[in-house]
């Protein structure tokens, strides 16, 4: 009998990953619940938009603008979710976007694109972005440089290289097929938004349904245990940064399409926006836990916030203050929930 009570007591003491809720606190602590919090925040923001800006906010064109703006940083943030879940960080994403955008829009590249096919621009941006990620990953995994430092160095170097290539000039894109493709809409949804949706969905599947994703959680949760379990942690790390690099290349393409330019100033502070979106989404900065859905909500919250502020003629500086406040509140809330659901 006492044996049984011990087992029962132990069972109750142990937190369960899936728990079909006891009360609201249990619901909020569940994976779906964490997103509920984000949904509520987003809905409140939208309500704020409707109240203060009325029809100017609740307008299809305006909402599509929000999504179009969210799409570029969103693609970077999905990649960032992988790196952070895997226990890393990448400060160079903005610089990689800039370098990719510049490299893909040089006169030479555009010339080849005009002679052959506009896809050359896309291809170039992806290769440049992927290569930057590969360098980051290799430095971190095999060179044993701390991720923070390695990517800080890449940040400086990549943006510098972008300035050299572009000679600090904004490069205007004049490739008809390219613009036509990316300016189009699918059933009323801009192509940029479709790309973001596809990347987010693919990211979700990759993180939650594949061996690659599972290994990412393992490597981020406990790299030593992952290594001793037979996972090639270093190779996996390289893949993670390369994946993020590819996302940056894709984001560069989308940015080129949206602004019709390539520039060394593109992607300014993307690293902060992406990390902030990932973190308020519920991904653990120390690795081992990550959520793509949370990241998507994080991106949408920030972009909607900017939009509401802009519609109300509030300054960029005020937006920055609000962003900072949101990050702090979100992290405090998460810690609370984590404590309640944990030990």
């Amino acid at each position: 009998m006492s044996e049984d009570t011990a087992a029962v007591a132990a069972r109750e003491r142990t937190p369960v990953v899936k728990d079909n809720g006891r009360g609201i606190s249990a619901l909020l602590a569940s994976p779906a619940g964490r997103n509920t919090g984000l949904v509520v925040a987003l809905v409140l923001l939208c309500l704020g938009g409707v109240v203060t800006a009325g029809d100017r906010f609740a307008d299809v064109d305006n909402l599509l603008t929000i999504l179009r703006l969210a799409a570029v940083i969103g693609v970077v943030s999905v990649g960032m979710t992988f790196v952070i879940t895997g226990g890393g960080i990448d400060l160079s994403v903005g610089a990689i976007v800039a370098l990719s955008s510049v490299w893909a829009t040089t006169l030479a590249t555009q010339g080849i694109a005009n002679d052959t096919h506009w896809i050359v621009i896309v291809f170039t941006a992806l290769v440049v972005g992927g290569a930057c990620g590969l360098v980051n990953g290799t430095l971190i995994a095999y060179g044993r440089v701390v991720a923070f430092i390695a990517t800080l160095a890449s940040l400086a170097a990549a943006r510098g290289l972008a300035e050299i290539i572009s000679n600090r000039k904004t490069q205007i894109v004049n490739v008809p097929g390219f613009a036509a493709f990316f300016d189009a809409s699918v059933l009323g949804v801009p192509v940029l938004v479709v790309i973001f949706a596809v990347v987010a969905a693919a990211g979700w599947v990759l993180l939650n349904r594949t061996t690659f994703g599972r290994r990412t959680f393992a490597v981020g949760g406990n790299p030593e245990a992952a290594r001793l379990a037979g996972i090639d942690v270093r190779r996996h790390t390289v893949w993670l940064y390369t994946l993020l690099g590819l996302c940056c290349g894709l984001a560069a393409v989308m940015l080129i399409a949206r602004t019709t330019t390539g520039s060394a100033t593109h992607g300014g502070l993307y690293e902060l926006d992406a990390i902030a979106a990932v973190v308020i989404g519920g991904t653990l900065l120390s690795g081992g836990r990550g959520t793509i859905a949370g990241t998507v909500f994080g991106v949408l919250i920030f972009t909607t916030l900017s939009n509401v502020f802009t519609l109300n003629n509030l300054s960029i500086s005020a937006q920055a203050v609000a962003k900072g406040a949101i990050i702090v509140v979100a992290v405090l809330l998460q810690q609370r929930l984590a404590r309640r659901s944990g030990a």
């Binding site: 006492s2 132990a10 142990t14 030593e224 992952a226 081992g288």
Partner: protein
């Protein structure tokens, strides 16, 4: 030596509830000045909670704590320390990078108008270390550079720095080798002779007999026996009290190893840069080989090098006749090797992830089609394994962190069972595992061997090596100094070999 004295600390009817569970449901015991009072109980019996309540980290829900005859309620650990009660936890709470003296006075720094009085701190640290019988520890040394045993001494100095009268030690010997345990016991005797009381928690019954005066046994958050004489009480009685059932033989029966069974693991001339060299090791199918040696003798390093987690400087490792690439865990795992590492939590487990994910992490590809995982199959296979191993509480979706040490170890074992590995390397398989679960793990290891797995066990516990292994290798200072059948050698001979030429 144990002259009856008035109770220094007495605890009556202590109850502590956490959301969903009552961790303590009626604990009574008392500690006298100058005695070593041992707390015994399986994992989950409530020992850790009790320590936390006594040291002020948790507040009790019911019951009273009397300290020197007066009812007290410590709001926090510092308040408890100021009253003279200090706890030393399993995970030492020292700050590497700070000096010994800084650590001793961390949180109650000596200062005048905000300026630290470093010379005074050094002087007092010196005095405390002298008192503990370790004048060789230098107060200016970086704590991170000290051995674990010395770090423990520093922890004790810290506990005594506020005139500690009662020291609570949570499994202090778990991280020490036999030599260092002797040092620890010396310190404890020194302290009790000065009238300090020690509450000592350990899974090792032999230690309790050696150092303890009286024993209190906890089970399911209750005191089931208290004030037992530590030297006289029978082992079988203690085990029966702890587990609620009689446990006559801890080690499973071993069958003779088939002398013509194939040699599964063959290691020749293995060496690394400086920790060990010329290691030869052959393990047949169905054989359990034990590696005995002190911490630092190189035994763990040998195991990790065989597994490829460290790169060998010289020598070869073969599994089933195929030579493995040096320094590649992946190659070792693919060849059918598995390792249960020494530090289960930091090296073995993904603590915040579900049980089934910890089990399948080394076999992901067998659950994947084109890289896509079959979650349901993973859970089903893991369920079957955890049922077979009797992992409690039941449920493969539970987070591993919440399991006891023994059940966590079973999860690591399940990982390699799932792969049906040919060679299993176990480093300290029963560290932090309570007596009941320990015998289950022994049985499991034996069962694996009987199914033809080649097993290598490293342990600081000589009794464990001798009881479990068919053949024993003794490692000293990076060399194998003995290799022979387990039944032809006894504990004292092994200890002799282990210690020979070693400054006591």
């Amino acid at each position: 030596m144990t002259a009856p004295a008035a109770a220094l600390l007495s605890v009556r009817g202590l109850v502590k509830r956490f959301p969903g569970v009552t961790a303590l449901q009626g604990v009574d015991f008392e500690v006298r000045a100058g005695e070593v009072h041992c707390l015994l109980g399986q994992n989950g019996a409530g020992k850790s909670t009790l320590i936390k309540v006594l040291s002020g980290a948790h507040r009790p829900d019911e019951g009273e704590i009397r300290w020197r005859g007066e009812v007290v309620s410590f709001g926090n650990p510092t308040a408890a320390m100021r009253s003279g009660v200090a706890a030393i936890y399993q995970e030492l709470d020292l700050v590497a990078g700070l000096s010994v003296a800084d650590n001793v006075f961390l949180g109650h720094e000596l200062s005048t108008a905000g300026f630290t009085r470093r010379a005074e701190a050094r002087r007092r640290t010196r005095a405390l270390l002298d008192r503990l019988g370790h004048p060789e520890i230098w107060p200016d040394r970086d704590v991170g550079r000290l051995s674990v045993a010395h770090q423990q001494v520093v922890s004790m100095a810290r506990a005594l720095s506020l005139d500690g009268q009662l020291l609570i030690m949570d499994e202090p010997s778990a991280v020490l080798d036999p030599d260092e345990v002797r040092v620890l016991f010396g310190v404890i005797r020194e302290l009790t002779a000065q009238g300090v009381a020690v509450v000592y928690i350990s899974h090792r019954l032999a230690e309790i007999r050696e150092i303890g005066d009286r024993v209190t046994v906890l089970k399911d958050g209750r005191t089931v026996a208290t004030g037992l004489p530590a030297r006289e009480v029978k082992t079988s009685e203690l085990i029966a009290l702890m587990t609620g059932r009689a446990l006559d033989n801890v080690f499973p029966h071993r069958k003779p190893v088939d002398p013509v069974a194939p040699e599964v693991l063959v290691v020749r001339g293995l060496a690394d840069k400086n920790r060990f060299r010329d290691v030869d090791l052959t393990v047949r199918a169905g054989e359990v080989v034990g590696l005995a040696g002190l911490v630092g003798s190189g035994r763990s390093e040998i195991l990790e090098t065989v597994y490829g987690a460290r790169k060998a400087a010289d020598g070869t490792v073969e599994v089933d006749g195929r030579r493995l690439r040096r320094g590649s865990v992946g190659a070792a795992v693919r060849a059918g090797m598995g390792l249960c590492p020494e530090e289960r939590k930091s090296q073995g487990l993904l603590l915040d992830q579900a049980v089934y994910r910890n089990i399948t992490v080394s076999s992901l590809s067998s659950f994947a089609k084109f890289g896509f995982l079959d979650d349901r199959a993973e859970r089903a296979r893991s369920s079957r394994l955890t049922e077979a191993l009797d992992v409690r509480p039941v449920g493969v979706d539970r987070v591993v962190r919440g399991l006891s040490g023994g059940n966590q170890q079973k999860v690591v074992l399940a990982r390699w069972l799932l792969r049906e590995c040919r060679v299993l390397l176990l480093d300290e398989p029963t560290r932090g595992v309570d007596v009941g679960a320990r015998s289950e793990i022994y049985e499991l290891i034996r069962e694996l061997a009987d199914r033809g797995v080649a097993v290598v066990v490293v342990s600081s516990d000589v009794e464990e090596v001798l009881g479990l292994a068919d053949r024993v290798l003794v490692v000293r200072e990076g060399r194998v100094v003995h290799d022979g059948p387990a039944d032809e050698i006894d504990e004292s001979r092994v200890l002799d070999l282990v210690m020979e030429g070693h400054a006591a």
